[in-house]
């Protein structure tokens, strides 16, 4: 859905095309430590706010970054991919316990400030990205056509800047998650996801 409540249908476009303004995307993150959820010392987490670790690149994305490929951070257009579908598409891994909502317009407002001798980074963007999955023979990847895959997008620009600026981008990304935009999946939800086919 759009952040302003309009209901025009969202249609997937070619890889690299920016999403229209006004839409929201879903980011799945892994299982936090017990402390992250229950320890009142972690005031941000206890209050349901996101934190930068939820926007780290996966091991595969890190390898791509080392190779100079500038990977995007995987997200899903909420109007095209349900939480259940996204959870299955990223592997149906019980370790994925965090669901975050991000508004495209807020993400696009993010850039890391300049530093001594270093320019500010370009603003982040949210673009369409063809979903892929590992090839059955273990070599490379193939297009993923499972239900909900048409909603796959990527947050572009997280590889720009210095290490400090990259950290800043993730800090600002976490702060852009709206109130109630972070959901911790329960054991019951995980069991339900595993027991039912994707809708």
């Amino acid at each position: 859905m759009t952040s302003d409540g309009t209901s025009d249908a969202l249609i997937s476009e070619p890889d690299g095309t920016p999403l229209p303004a006004g839409w929201s995307v879903l980011r799945l993150g892994p299982q936090p430590s017990i402390n992250a959820v229950n320890d009142p010392g972690h005031t941000l987490l206890a209050s349901g706010k996101a934190w930068p670790g939820l926007f780290a690149f996966s091991s595969t994305e890190r390898i791509a970054e080392v190779q100079g490929l500038k990977p995007r951070l995987s997200v899903w257009a909420e109007s095209l991919t349900t939480l259940h579908q996204a959870w299955l598409l990223v592997g149906g891994n019980p370790n994925n316990r965090i669901a975050l909502t991000l508004f495209v317009d807020l993400v696009r407002a993010i850039s890391a400030p300049d530093m001594p001798g270093v320019r500010a980074t370009p603003r982040l963007d949210v673009v369409w990205e063809r979903a892929v999955r590992p090839a059955p023979d273990g070599t490379g990847s193939v297009p993923d056509d499972r239900p909900g895959s048409q909603g796959h997008c990527g947050i572009d620009g997280l590889c720009n800047g210095t290490k400090a600026q990259k950290g800043k981008l993730r800090e600002l990304l976490a702060e852009s998650v709206p109130p109630n935009g972070l959901v911790v999946l329960t054991d019951d939800q995980i069991v339900a996801f595993l027991s039912k086919p994707s809708d």
């Binding site: 993150g29 892994p30 299982q31 936090p32 430590s33 017990i34 402390n35 992250a36 320890d39 009142p40 010392g41 972690h42 005031t43 941000l44 987490l45 934190w51 930068p52 670790g53 939820l54 780290a56 690149f57 996966s58 091991s59 595969t60 890190r62 080392v66 592997g91 891994n93 370790n95 965090i98 400030p113 210095t162 290490k163 400090a164 600026q165 990259k166 950290g167 800043k168 993730r170 800090e171």
Partner: protein
């Protein structure tokens, strides 16, 4: 906690009810606290007070790191590096709370300390250097870089972690 000493709370990371008699801790936010007091010769002393929940938090964190390995979420190398970073941080900043941790399948594992004013993060991959990031939301200052846990924590991380415990301290420069 019960006691009759007159405590002089120092470097409180949060608001605590302090007085003579019964001490209440309405919101436990630190692993332990340093209390300052004066002895019979009026000499300033410090005493480290550990709360039971503190050790529970630490034990929970260690169990989490172990569980992430036994459940196959991250390789043992990541857990070992995380443990090393946590122990180094705890040694450098004795009252430090356990970090919020999040582990991706295959890595990395990500640590966050955040008191609303300062934020310190460490990203711990299976291979290669770890990354650190320190941010002061009030001044807008931030910094980051790489580090090897076996070589100890960068000075900027330790400085940032000290400020996690005392949000009223000087801002990052």
């Amino acid at each position: 906690m019960n006691g009759t000493m007159i405590w002089n709370l120092r470097a409180s990371p949060t608001d605590y009810t302090v007085g003579t008699g019964v001490y209440r801790v309405p919101s436990l936010k630190a692993a332990s606290l340093n209390y300052g007091y004066r002895d019979k010769s009026d000499k300033s002393r410090d005493i480290l007070v550990r709360f039971p929940a503190d050790e529970d938090n630490v034990a929970n964190h260690h169990a989490y790191l172990a569980r992430m390995v036994t459940e196959g979420v991250v390789p043992a190398e990541i857990s070992a590096k995380a443990r090393r970073i946590w122990e180094s941080a705890r040694m450098a900043v004795p009252n430090l709370p356990v970090p919020a941790a999040v582990a991706y399948s295959g890595g990395p594992l990500h640590y966050t300390w955040d008191n609303g004013h300062f934020q310190v993060t460490a990203e711990i991959p299976a291979d290669g250097l770890c990354e650190w990031y320190v941010s002061d939301r009030h001044s807008g200052a931030f910094d980051g870089g790489d580090f090897e846990p076996a070589d100890g924590l960068p000075v900027m991380i330790i400085a940032g972690l000290r400020r996690i415990l005392n949000r009223s301290s000087r801002t990052l420069s």
